[in-house]
Symmetry: C2
Subunit: 339 residues, 2 copies
């Protein structure tokens, strides 16, 4: 690789002059500056990021920490969409992204240590177990951090509005005439808590009391549990007219069970998902679901994090709440005037 030294020799100036020219310092003459820039380009110069990082303590690299219960890693539908948007936004601002993990050969390296080792300028944390001591260590460190879908006291957070999301979803289902609404939710987490809380609150404000049997704990992205729990719901004396699933994918488990028992969707029973993945829109009938705005979430996360990195004084500690949108698929049907 061609270095500043090479350019300085070719141009007959000092290395410092080259550095300052390329970084547009004001104390270099216009002609020299242009000449150097031109030769640099001609010679195919690109800065050595390691050298620059060593000196400036800035890597233009952002760490991504993501671990989920299912170890689905990058294949996680929701996260991969958020990450993709994050990546695109970050790259536009000159940042690359690197994964922070513990698979590392340096077994003893914690997330924080890994981050410091790589010298990332900041870290985005998503979908992990936020009670993990190592995650807490990272959150409490002096590194710029934004969290996704979880809020810490002194950290910027980007959260999907699960409360409004669930409220909107249920309101739509209610408007369609449903009064017996069941909810198979995912494993316990702050996201789940918000959704479940909102589920109860919304129905309560609509004057509906939810039987205990209507709320069941399932597993995210798991069709077996959703299938099993759906059976339980169908076997109830008074079974629900609509079932909400933890997410789009797991709704398929329920849908299959429903069809097997000879029921039709939405004529006999309605179903709804959550996430608004591509999948939900190709099912037949289309799945009614709450589309989380993964694009905005990823974009905001990147913007806020980079802002925090570059202007730590000005950056404000905020909690950005990103609203979703109800996708009114045909899987939730209209029920007669039995208001």
């Amino acid at each position: 690789m061609v270095s500043m030294k090479d350019i300085s020799q070719k141009c007959g100036v000092s290395i410092a002059t080259v550095s300052k020219s390329l970084n547009d310092h004001s104390d270099i003459g216009e002609t020299t500056k242009n000449y150097i820039k031109k030769t640099a380009k001609e010679m195919g110069y690109f800065p050595n990021s390691s050298a620059r990082a060593l000196k400036t303590n800035k890597t233009y690299n952002i760490g991504v920490l993501f671990v989920d219960e299912a170890q689905s890693g990058l294949t996680h539908a929701y996260f991969s969409h958020v990450l993709d948007s994050f990546k695109v936004t970050a790259e536009k601002k000159g940042y690359d992204i690197t994964f922070i993990s513990r698979n590392n050969v340096h077994k003893s390296m914690s997330y924080l240590e890994h981050s410091k080792y790589r010298g990332v300028d900041g870290v985005v944390i998503a979908c992990v177990d936020f009670h993990d001591p190592e995650v807490l260590e990272l959150v409490r460190s002096d590194l710029p951090v934004v969290t996704i879908d979880y809020t810490f006291n002194n950290r910027i957070a980007i959260v999907s509005d699960n409360i409004k999301g669930m409220n909107d979803l249920i309101s739509f289902i209610y408007e369609m005439g449903h009064r017996r609404i069941a909810y198979i939710h995912g494993a316990d987490s702050s996201v789940t808590q918000n959704r479940v809380g909102s589920f109860y609150k919304t129905l309560d404000s609509l004057g509906i009391t939810v039987p205990d049997e209507y709320v069941k704990e399932g597993i995210y992205i798991d069709t077996e549990s959703s299938a099993y729990l759906t059976k339980e719901l169908l076997d109830l004396k008074e079974s629900p007219t609509c079932i909400i699933y933890p997410d789009d994918f797991s709704s398929i488990g329920g849908i299959n069970v429903i069809k097997e028992s000879g029921l039709r969707i939405p004529e006999d029973i309605s179903v709804a998902g959550y996430d608004g993945t591509e999948l939900s829109q190709v099912l037949d009938p289309k799945l009614t679901t709450l589309k989380q705005d993964t694009k905005s979430i990823g974009k905001f996360a990147a913007e806020k994090l980079i802002n925090l990195i570059e202007k730590p004084k000005i950056a404000i500690l905020e909690r950005v709440v990103v609203e979703g949108e109800v996708l009114r698929g045909g899987s939730v049907g209209k029920i007669g005037n039995n208001s």
Copy 2:
């Protein structure tokens, strides 16, 4: 961060001694070595990767280049699985991964330049347009490279065995009694060519002539085109008894059309996908598909690339072909003895 300097002061030795101790050089006494290692651990020392990279020209960082037609980025089902496996394997060997892209703020930076700028030790290339001049520049460079699903002359390649895969898939379908088999394939690419080629060859060797109308060019991961083309197939005077789709996801488009036209799967018509994603296994009936061994592909890619990086002399130029497996779902039904 604590540096070698801090350790050297605490231990009363030179920086060189610290460095050599931590790197297990033979010219340091056992006692000193142990003492230094112990203090290093106590002080929470971790090497500064930038400094090390600057000096050694080794970053323990691998670049990942992935661009697909659909710009689906990380959300690409096949690729995200391959990448996840790649990532896990690489991390186990102490390598982190960084994405190589062109979204970068340094607009003029090519893939190769980006790679050199970041100083990645090697690059894995997948699913991109392998005719892109920039990709070629990278492939022809002096950087260690492995490609996935495409073979260059002087490069290690890991390829999914699309020829055998399609052969196996069709053989199974044939065994189930099908003789009129249609194939909606994806956009042109070497992967597609292999599959289509194998499709024709296999059927030919089974003594079946494929009518031109049975082979249609669709789009990967696209349900609209698969739906549209399925309609065309159903409208034929002599429509196929089985339709193979570009991939699992797009098969849904076809399945919906089939159901809408009142046909049952597999009683009236059979369908098959390709990939073997989770999705294929939760459809009802389960989709018959060819499961590509994404785990092995990612793992091999990482292993071969790291081997090439660490032992460039010994590493052999090979083309690793990874076989898939037919998942015999219920979507392909048995047809009577009309051999």
